[in-house]
């Protein structure tokens, strides 16, 4: 397996791939720097434009955006106390006080170096852990694959936090959308209502753009933030090579935060925000001067930014090997893989080793590029992005969304469908229904159905075939643990709270 990893390297070093990666990192920083826009949204808008590209080039763009956006979120977090991405909330704690003291440039340099190191650690985790895990999953038959899909859905519903009922509704909606179209086995038309455009089913891209791109655009137009006067004109930035030696004292924090970020990334349902919070708390707990935290402690930025970038590539470990994304961005990336004919899951590593291993290398190179692009070249320039007028930005994104979705099949039907999903997505977002289970439901629904039917055919209609081997039983046990675990934890906390109050 590791020989495939080395074999994929020359492809990644091609000019086209490196350009895509560089463009992706810059675009990611730009998107992350704008409050209200996220990596998830940017990748959703981008996915339809990658149809005509080589898969590796397209994936390089996505990897670059993901890496760049996680750092970009720190720019408004430091300068305006507005996190550009949800994962950058913790960066505001010490970043903004530093900017108030005229150390905004130094804070951003710590953020970019820490983000890059977190990203590099995460990419190494992906490179080292995914291949052996994939080898195990290659042994899975239809019933195991069915249970993997069920486990994936359950873990994102039950571990995401928030209302379980709403999570289940989101997942059921996603699975239901996945069955629209002509049944691949019986040929029966399901919910097409004589619309020829629906015979092939609903493209994941239409759903992604509708759910993840339209609601933020409406938000941009609903409440335009006034950021024109907030960003510091002078950041007090020194060349990064001069400030780098002063950061070496954060090595313990970088190491600890990387481990936390990688672990949180692998867990389905958790994400960058949780990684940043955990890492910040842990670093503060072990600090000799915890009283300075929250008042402009540079180590606080190092802790949060390392952790929120360390969950990027690691979130793809379960996504690529099992088809279970660790974060919303990973779910969108799965959609990106699908449109290039790459079905995430056990067979991906066998059928497309060059692409999948190349994708992993791109994460590593993307993280390294972050230092050069985000740090030495353009910290000041990116800070100016905060002055872009948001209504104008919103209307440009609307045009890009329409072009992207129309380009899939050259038909306006898809655009109307995207607007419909957008309206549903907006309502779901406002009513706090989680969106990742919808995407995962669409990705895993068809996959689960196909394997369930295959397993039943092998077992001649006997449902017990789903429980007959040890791997299936382990997966069932894990699924039950994922469902029951959070309930038990909640009950335990409630009991303790009652005991304390009593």
């Amino acid at each position: 397996m590791y020989s495939d990893l080395l074999h994929a390297l020359p492809n990644v070093l091609g000019l086209e791939n490196l350009l895509a990666l560089t463009f992706g990192v810059i675009a990611g920083i730009v998107v992350g720097a704008m409050p209200g826009l996220s990596a998830t949204m940017a990748i959703s808008v981008l996915v339809p434009f990658t149809f005509g590209m080589e898969p590796l080039v397209a994936l390089g763009l996505m990897a670059g955006i993901y890496n760049g956006a996680m750092y970009g979120g720190a720019i408004p977090a430091v300068l305006l106390r507005i996190p550009g991405t949800p994962a950058a909330v913790v960066t505001t704690f010490d970043g903004y006080p530093m900017a108030q003291k005229g150390q905004g440039g130094y804070a951003l340099q710590i953020a970019v170096v820490s983000s890059a190191l977190g990203g590099i650690a995460s990419a190494f985790a992906l490179l080292l852990l995914a291949p052996p895990l994939a080898k195990v999953t290659l042994l899975f038959g239809p019933s195991e694959v069915f249970w993997v899909a069920v486990f994936g859905l359950c873990s994102i519903i039950f571990l995401l936090g928030g209302s379980v009922v709403k999570g289940l509704i989101s997942a059921c909606f996603g699975v239901f959308v996945s069955v629209i179209g002509s049944d691949p086995i019986s040929g029966a038309d399901r919910y097409t209502f004589n619309q020829l455009e629906l015979l092939d089913g609903v493209s994941i891209v239409i759903l992604l753009v509708g759910l993840y791109a339209l609601p933020p655009v409406i938000d941009l137009l609903e409440t335009p933030l006034k950021t024109e006067n907030g960003a510091s004109e002078k950041l007090g930035t020194e060349p990064i090579w001069r400030t780098l030696p002063t950061m070496l004292r954060f090595w313990k924090t970088w190491l600890r935060a990387s481990i936390i970020g990688i672990w949180i990334g692998i867990l389905p349902g958790a994400g960058g925000s949780m990684a940043a919070f955990m890492s910040y708390n842990e670093a503060r707990r072990t600090s000799k001067t915890p009283e300075t935290w929250g008042e402009g402690e540079p180590e606080g930025i190092a802790a949060s930014e390392t952790a929120n970038n360390a969950d990027t590539a690691s979130a793809l470990i379960p996504a690529l090997t099992l088809g279970i994304p660790g974060t919303a961005v990973a779910a969108v990336m799965l959609g990106g893989l699908l449109i290039h004919g790459l079905q995430p899951g056990p067979m991906l590593f066998r059928e497309n080793p060059d692409v999948v291993f190349g994708f992993m290398w791109q994460f590593l190179f993307g993280a390294v590029l972050l230092i050069f692009l985000g740090g030495s070249l353009a910290t000041n320039s990116f800070a100016k992005l905060l002055k872009l007028p948001r209504p104008l930005l919103g209307s440009i994104i609307i045009v890009l969304m329409l072009i992207g979705v129309y380009s899939i099949n050259n038909r306006m039907f898809d655009v109307y469908l995207m607007l419909g999903f957008g309206a549903v997505g907006y309502l779901m977002d406002k009513l706090k229904f989680p969106l990742p289970p919808v995407v995962l439901g669409l990705i895993l629904g068809g996959f689960a159905e196909e394997n369930l039917r295959l397993a039943l055919r092998i077992g001649r209609g006997d449902w017990l075939i789903l429980f007959q081997n040890i791997t299936s039983q382990i997966l069932v046990a894990l699924t039950v643990a994922v469902i029951v675990g959070p309930m038990l934890k909640r009950r335990f906390i409630d009991t303790r709270k009652t005991a304390v109050e009593g």
């Binding site: 709403k166 699975v175 086995i185 409406i218 007028p389 609307i398 309206a423 406002k430």
Partner: protein, 153 residues
């Protein structure tokens, strides 16, 4: 976000639960006409949605009985509906009038309506965006956009 007193049956989650229940029930009709094996998964999902919608409804009504207030879902409803309406009109205009004309009109219009009032900035941004789309998509990628029933552009 300010809280408001409201009719307990007009709470957003209650309305959502009722809508969801009705939609799932309506989709069960075509499901009944599908072959058994094709109906298995969709029927399971629709029945689950019916049950979950009921649970959501009951939970929200219990919450309503306890607190009698609900948070408004939208911060500025006219802006939200306005944004959706303009986006829908833009999509229809692309279909009926043509892509380039609709884009050249809609892009500055949406930005202007939602608060960006710098006319020079709007003009420059529109020219740059439309020209970039033409150069990248129409010229370099030979992509064809809807010319509309009027056949303009």
């Amino acid at each position: 976000m300010s809280e408001q007193k409201s009719n307990r049956f007009l709470r957003p989650e209650t309305l959502t639960a009722v809508g969801l229940f009705l939609a799932a029930a309506a989709f069960l009709v075509p499901t009944a006409q599908l072959p058994q094996i094709s109906a298995l998964l969709p029927a399971a999902m629709l029945i689950s949605l019916l049950v979950l919608a009921m649970i959501l409804l009951i939970a929200d009504q219990r919450k309503a009985a306890a607190e009698n207030t609900s948070e408004p879902v939208l911060k500025a409803p006219p802006r939200v509906f306005g944004a959706f309406l303009l986006i829908l009109l833009y999509a229809l205009a692309v279909n009926f009038v043509g892509f380039y004309v609709s884009t050249a009109v809609s892009l500055p219009l949406v930005a202007f309506v939602f608060g960006y009032r710098n006319l020079a900035g709007l003009g420059i941004a529109t020219i740059i965006v439309v020209a970039a789309i033409y150069l990248i998509f129409s010229l370099a990628m030979a992509k064809e956009f809807p010319s509309g029933i009027l056949g303009i552009l």
